[in-house]
Structures are given as C-alpha cells and as structure tokens.
C-alpha cells in the first residue's frame, strides 16, 4: 500500500536530484543479488530462458562499454557475441564468490583488452579516428581556460566548440594504453569505483589507481598542447 509521508509545502527541494528521474537500468550493478542468484541457478541448471533474462539484464552495459572503448559497432558486436557465449559456456563455473556483474565485467574487459592490444600491434587495422580539427589553433588562451563556464547549448559558437572538445578528447583518449583506456572508461563513463574496477581487471585497487594517475596525466598533457 502506498504511504503518504508529507502534507504541506512542496518538498521538491528535498530531492537530491530532481532532474534525474532515471531508475537503475536492468543492466546496472544496483540490482539485487538475490534476484540474480535465482536466475543464475536456473541458468546453471540448463534453463535457457533464465539465461536470456540475465543477458537482457546486463547486455546494455556490456555493449555500451565495448562501443565506448572500441569506438566501432562491428568490434563491439564481436565483443558482445564472444563475451556472452563465453559466459554461457562457463556459467557452471560461477560459484557466487563475487558479484555476477563483476564476473561478467572480468570476461568483457579481457576481451576488450585483447581487441585494443591487437589494434595497438596492428595500427593499420584501426578504425578511422575522429579528426583532430584545427579550429581552435589560432584562438587565444589555454584549452582548460576555455572550459570555464562552458556547457551552454544556446550559442552556436559554443556548440561548435563543444564538438571540437569532443574530437580532441576522443583523440587524446586514443593515446592511452589499452589498460589505461579501460580503467579510464570504467571510472569516468561507467561510474565504477576503483575497487570494483580492480576486481573486474583481476588486480589491486592500488594498481588501478596508478593506471588512473598515468591516464589523467597523459590526457592533461595531450589537451594542454592544444591552444
């Protein structure tokens, strides 16, 4: 039965994020482990529909990670397929010693890292990079100075500048090593904590932290050079 908690002045200010009405997606880590457990046990016993439900619960996040890291729909599709087939074949080995999403991420990140490493060793197979434009080359001031107060969408010049920033950030991200790229993606765009990233990558929080430091310094250097 619904409960009525406040009668009186509008309590909109009490909400932490009034604009963000989003619920955790089925793929998010916030889902209850107990519910997962039932599905996993059913899937381990051979229930195909339970496995499909698990796939639908996590595959959005998996595909998103692959698309963001690899920047190519074809590669992301390969990663998706390979990852979930691997999960299906090895599901009987999952012993609930860690969260299911951590186990999935471990498999997915390994496959993504393989793809990235292959690209690093065969740069000719790399998909076309976003063009690093020269739009800002003659402008005054430092790149970071121009970030102050940016974000308005009303001004066409600002919009062009926003695309420009996007291109430069994209190009800078390409300069990271596969592991740094992965750590950076998982921290900044997937919102994972360093500890969870460590678990997914099979390493310590301290090592992940060092990767994040190196990645941030590289990015800063790359973006500082653009004036």
């Amino acid at each position: 039965m619904p409960s009525e908690v406040i009668v009186g002045s509008p309590p909109f200010e009490a909400l932490p994020n009034p604009g963000t009405t989003a619920i955790a997606s089925p793929g998010s880590a916030a889902l209850p482990a107990k519910d997962d457990r039932t599905l996993i046990e059913r899937a381990q016993a051979g229930d195909r529909s339970a496995f499909e439900l698990l796939v639908q619960r996590y595959d959005r996040q998996v595909l998103r990670l692959a698309l963001n890291v690899l920047g190519s729909a074809e590669d992301a599709r390969d990663v998706y397929q390979e990852a979930f087939l691997k999960i299906y074949r090895n599901l009987h080995r999952f012993r609930f010693e860690c969260a299911f999403y951590t186990w999935i991420y471990r498999i997915v990140t390994n496959i993504c890292l393989d793809h990235l490493r292959r690209r690093h060793s065969h740069p000719e197979e790399q998909p076309p990079l976003l063009r690093a434009a020269s739009f800002e080359e003659n402008r005054d001031g430092d790149f970071f100075d121009r970030q102050q107060g940016s974000g308005a969408h009303s001004d066409p010049e600002r919009q062009v500048l926003g695309h420009e920033i996007g291109r430069r950030v994209e190009a800078a991200l390409q300069s990271l090593s596969p592991r740094e790229r992965m750590v950076f993606e998982m921290r900044h765009y997937q919102g994972m904590k360093l500890r969870a990233i460590g678990e997914a990558l099979g390493t310590t929080e301290e090592t992940v932290k060092n990767s994040l430091f190196r990645a941030t310094r590289k990015l800063r250097t790359q973006l500082e050079g653009l004036r």
């Binding site: 039965m1 406040i6 009186g8 509008p10 009405t21 529909s49 970030q147 994209e170 900044h188």
Partner: protein, 356 residues
C-alpha cells in the same frame, strides 16, 4: 584515515578529488590546502576543468547505437548462436527428464491395468483435496496470536493530480533485496503531498501506467524507468494493456523496445499477441521489429500462437516479412522461422498422416 597533504603529493590527491574517489575528510584537506597554496589551487582547478571536458564528450555509444538497433541485432545473433550450440541430440536426451515423457509412459502402462488407474486416480484426488483444504484455511484465516489490523490508505490520486504531475515529480529508486524500485510521487495540485510506494501498490501502478501512456507529458527516461519498474508486475491486466499501448504508440523506439522485452514473459493474452504482431508488421524501426520477431518465434515454439493456416495472423505476417521487409536479417530469420515451424508441425502430426 586522512593522510598528510603536501605540495609534493597534492597532484595525485587532486586527481582522486576530481574523480570523486576521496572520502569527506580527504576532500576537506584538499580544499584547505588549495586555499593556502596558489600553485596547488591552479592544479586543482585544471583537474576539475579536465573532468568537465571529459564529461562534455559525447560518448560513442550514444551515437553508434542511439536507437538500440545494434543491441537488438546483437541479441538476435546471440540467441541464434545459442540455438545452434544447444544441438538436437542433447535436447532428445534431456527430454527423458521432462515430466511429460514420464506421464506418457504411465499413460501407456495404465491402458493395460485399469485397476491401477482407478486406485491412482482416487489417491491423487484425496491428496489434492487435502492440500486444497489446507491451502484455503491458510489464506482465509488470520494467524493465531496475531491480531487482525486495519490499515487506512492515503487518499487515492485523482485524475487531476495525475495530469499535473510533471517530469520532476516522479522518482524511482532501486531497493536492495527487491527487484521492484521504490517510487516517490510529488503531487502539487490541489494540495501538495508526497506519495511513496512500490509497483505492488495499485495506486503506484496506476500512476506508472499513466506515465507509460503519456509520452508528451513525461520524458523518455521516466517512461523507460516506469516500464522497468512495472516489469515484475507485467502480468497485471492494467500494466499489460499499458505496455501493449506503449509498444504500439510510443514515439521513442527505445521505449517500444523496452516494452517488448517486458511483455516477453507475459502469458498469451490476445492484446499482447496483437501488439507484438503489430510491431513486427508495422514498426518503422528495424530494431523493434527484430525484437518482435524473436518474441513471436519464441512464442510460436511454445505454441502460444496458433500455427494452423489459413486464419493465422502470425504465420502470414512472417511470410510478409520474409518477402517484403527492408532488413535482410528479418527476411532471412523469418524464412528460417517458417521452415522450423513447418518441421515442428510435421513432427507433431500423429501417425496416420495429415488431413488432405
């Protein structure tokens, strides 16, 4: 524990500060140090600016799979690969473990032993009667020792209140230990109040179904969140109808896709069948059509759609998609599905053959 902070170790701390990885005490220490040292303040400011620039980047996932078409393709390919991996011999072996197989064996045994049949029927009847009586007692009587209590509900949400809830007036929060999120509604008219509950509550369910059906009043994320929230209670007729309606009319393909997913596990109600077939036949987004196609095939395999021509809408839509769909995947998958269904029909024809 808060570590000592100097200019020499400030950079790493500033990176963690901007990444949101520091506890409150460490954040305060960083801020205090930055106030005292101009160089470190500049460094911190640059870290925060870098973070802003990275946040402003449009993520490739948003541009490469905006309408989740790729996701639908990936799922189709995966489920097809799993079908291939399952293999027929394994399925035949597994069928030994199914109850129908054993029931079939008993049925043949009883034909030759009418006495056993009668005794078994009496025994089953007696057991069922006892169990049903006990179950009825449990659901109708209060537990001894616990008083019967009456709970008064808050005033129901009126139509006027529903129409004046805006996008910021609804919040869905995941709850630990339960698949259903907690829903908070902020009603402003005629009198401000907050109503909280879960989708198990009829009033909350009514609001969420209203949200799904009103694309103009609520934005995409709220509608997507509402569908996810209602998924555990998708069997409810009101919810089912709202989701079928969203599948037919929502302007956003991602919402329609999510509605199909939610309806996937729902039983074979005619309105749901009709909405899914309608999506396969008429939706202009191929991702939605792919998901509808997969759902139709799955349901046909489970014999939830009648498959006997000529009055079979599902088969005729599959034929139409096989010939006319603009998407090659849908054309080939429809053809495969029709072939598989034909072979299943042949398998299910009893000895003696079909009718002419």
């Amino acid at each position: 524990m808060v570590e000592e902070l100097y200019c020499s170790n400030f950079e790493d701390r500033a990176i963690l500060y901007a990444a949101g990885e520091l506890i409150d005490e460490d954040c305060a220490a960083v801020e205090v140090h930055a106030q005292q040292c101009a160089n470190c303040a500049a460094l911190l400011s640059r870290e925060i600016s870098l973070r802003k620039a990275l946040a402003a980047r449009v993520q490739p996932a948003d541009t490469l799979d905006h309408s989740e078409l790729l996701l639908a393709h990936c799922r189709s390919e995966l489920f097809e690969a799993l079908d291939d991996a399952a293999g027929r011999p394994q399925r035949a072996w597994r069928s030994l473990l199914t109850p129908w197989r054993w029931l079939g064996a008993f049925r043949h045994a009883f034909v030759f032993h009418p006495g056993w049949s009668a005794a078994t029927l009496i025994l089953v009847g007696a057991l069922a009667g006892t169990a049903a009586r006990e179950w009825y007692r449990q659901i109708t009587l209060p537990v001894p020792g616990n008083p019967v209590i009456t709970v008064s509900a808050p005033a129901p949400i009126t139509q006027q209140e529903l129409e004046t809830i805006d996008r910021d007036g609804i919040r869905l929060e995941p709850q630990s230990g339960s698949p259903a999120p907690r829903v908070e509604l902020q009603v402003r008219s005629p009198q401000p109040r907050v109503v909280q509950g879960t989708p198990d509550d009829a009033e909350i369910r009514r609001v969420l179904t209203y949200v799904i059906g009103h694309g103009g009043q609520f934005d995409d994320s709220v509608r997507l969140g509402s569908i996810d929230a209602l998924r555990p209670v998708a069997d409810d007729p009101q919810v089912r109808a709202a989701m079928s309606d969203a599948l037919r009319h929502d302007p956003n393909p991602a919402v329609r896709l999510r509605a199909i997913e939610a309806l996937r596990g729902v039983g074979s109600a005619p309105d749901v069948q009709s909405a899914i077939l309608g999506a396969l036949s008429d939706d202009d987004n191929s991702g939605v059509r792919i998901q509808a196609l997969n759902t139709v095939i799955e349901r046909m395999r489970r014999r939830e759609f009648p498959r006997v021509p000529p009055d079979n809408r599902a088969v005729s839509i599959l034929r139409d998609r096989m010939r006319n769909d603009s998407n090659s995947y849908i054309r080939s998958r429809s053809a495969d599905a029709l072939g598989q269904l034909a072979s299943m029909d042949e398998d299910s024809v009893p000895a003696g053959g079909r009718h002419p």
